[in-house]
Structure formats: structure tokens, C-alpha cells
């Protein structure tokens, strides 16, 4: 699943294994004592409505460029070791994994901060769009101003 040009990121339709990804982050990496992971999944409700599925669209090429830039910024700001970002596209159902961010570091504070920073920036800068299907029909999700405010705080 790994993008050979950008080994730290992967945009894929297939599911991923948290255990496999963490094993890769930890392999031959005894200098890093901390591993922080974030996994985002399809929730059964969004703003009060019952969701049946999500369809993720993205902008190939720009997606990779934006994620690589976000990871580069995180590495400039914190002392982190390895990073992996996976984002799925296509149709996803309740409970399905959407996104994974894994960060290792010598000391835990860096991995926590860098992981949350990557997610916050991904949310406002990476060109992905969610279309939600619920009983009342299908609609594109609106961006949340809270996400914009959260990214601006870093």
C-alpha cells in the first residue's frame, strides 16, 4: 500500500492494519520510546443524522504534496522519529477506518503534539472531501469552522 515515492504516506481504497503499521514504525527503532497513533473511523451519526456510508473523493497529486508538506512541517517543529499517514478514499461504511496517523519519538510529548498537528493540518489543507449518505439522501459535508480554528492555534 505504501507509495514508493513517498514512503511516509499512502492514499488507498483498501483497508489498513493498525498492528502492521505500528510494527513498521517500531521495527529496528529502539531509539524511540513513544508511539502515538490516531485512527479516524466512520461514525454512525453526524450532527444528529444517522449515517449509512461516506464516499471520499480526493485530488490526486495535490493530496500527496500537501501531506508530504504537513509531515515536513511537523518534523521541523518537533523531535520525532518515524511518521506514517494513511488516508482511504472511495466508499466507506460505519466503523470503517478512514485515516491513520502514527508518530514515534524519543519522548512522548513530541509524538503527541506532532500527531495532533498532522491531523489538524490534514483536516484543513489536504484535498479530501466527504459525501455522506443518510436516509434523507446524499450530501457533501460542510467544512467545520472549529477545524479551521484548531489548525490556526498551532
Amino acid at each position: 500500500m505504501t507509495n514508493t515515492t513517498y514512503p511516509e504516506i499512502s492514499i488507498q481504497t483498501a483497508d489498513f492494519s493498525l498492528a502492521d503499521e505500528v510494527a513498521l514504525l517500531e521495527r529496528n527503532n529502539a531509539i524511540d520510546g513513544a508511539v502515538v497513533t490516531f485512527t479516524g473511523r466512520v461514525r454512525n451519526k453526524n450532527e444528529g443524522k444517522e449515517v449509512t456510508s461516506l464516499t471520499l473523493e480526493h485530488y490526486p497529486g495535490m493530496t500527496e504534496k500537501s501531506l508530504v508538506t504537513i509531515i515536513k512541517q511537523a518534523k521541523e517543529r518537533w523531535r520525532i522519529g518515524r511518521v506514517k499517514v494513511i488516508h482511504r478514499v472511495g466508499e466507506l461504511f460505519i466503523g470503517d477506518q478512514i485515516v491513520f496517523v502514527g508518530v514515534t519519538s524519543k519522548h512522548r510529548q513530541d509524538a503527541f503534539a506532532a500527531n495532533e498537528f498532522i491531523m489538524d493540518y490534514l483536516k484543513v489543507q489536504a484535498p479530501f472531501w466527504k459525501k455522506e449518505a443518510c436516509q434523507s439522501g446524499v450530501n457533501w459535508l460542510d467544512a467545520k469552522s472549529s477545524d479551521k480554528n484548531k489548525a490556526a492555534k498551532w
Binding site: 473523493e57 485530488y59 500537501s66 483536516k123 484543513v124 484535498p127 479530501f128 472531501w129 467544512a143
Partner: protein, 82 residues
Amino acid sequence: MIKVVFFAALREQLNCSQLSLNSENLVTVADLKKQLASKDEKWQKVFANNTLLSAVNHDMVSSEQTIKSGDEVAFFPPVTGG
């Protein structure tokens, strides 16, 4: 020529994912938006939305960004991934 691409709700509203334009008379992204908006009422309405985002060659830019022949310009709604 300039390649213009559209994504998500924008692509659906315009019923268009991609087009090519002659780059003459286009200096900035704002010029391009103006020209696209002049196509017809539907395009005018869509480009009146000031939350629209623009990217040139895969980098998010403001409307003041200059463009030139060979560029890929994208228009899309605020992103909602993650």
C-alpha cells in the same frame, strides 16, 4: 493553455471535472475565475461563492496568484477529510 480541474460539490454543480482554456488575457487566478463565471448563469452562481478554494500546480493559493500557460489550476470547496 491552462488546465482547470474541479472537485467534489463544485464538480457536481458544474457537471464538469476538467477543461482547458487559452491563457491569453489571464494574469491571475482571479482573472480565470471571472472568465469562468462569465460562461453562463450556473457558472456565475458557483463562482460567486467566496468560500471556494484555489490551487495552482497542487499548492493552495489566493486569487492574486499569477498563472501561466501549462499551469494546472484547481477549484474546490473547503476540504473535509480526516
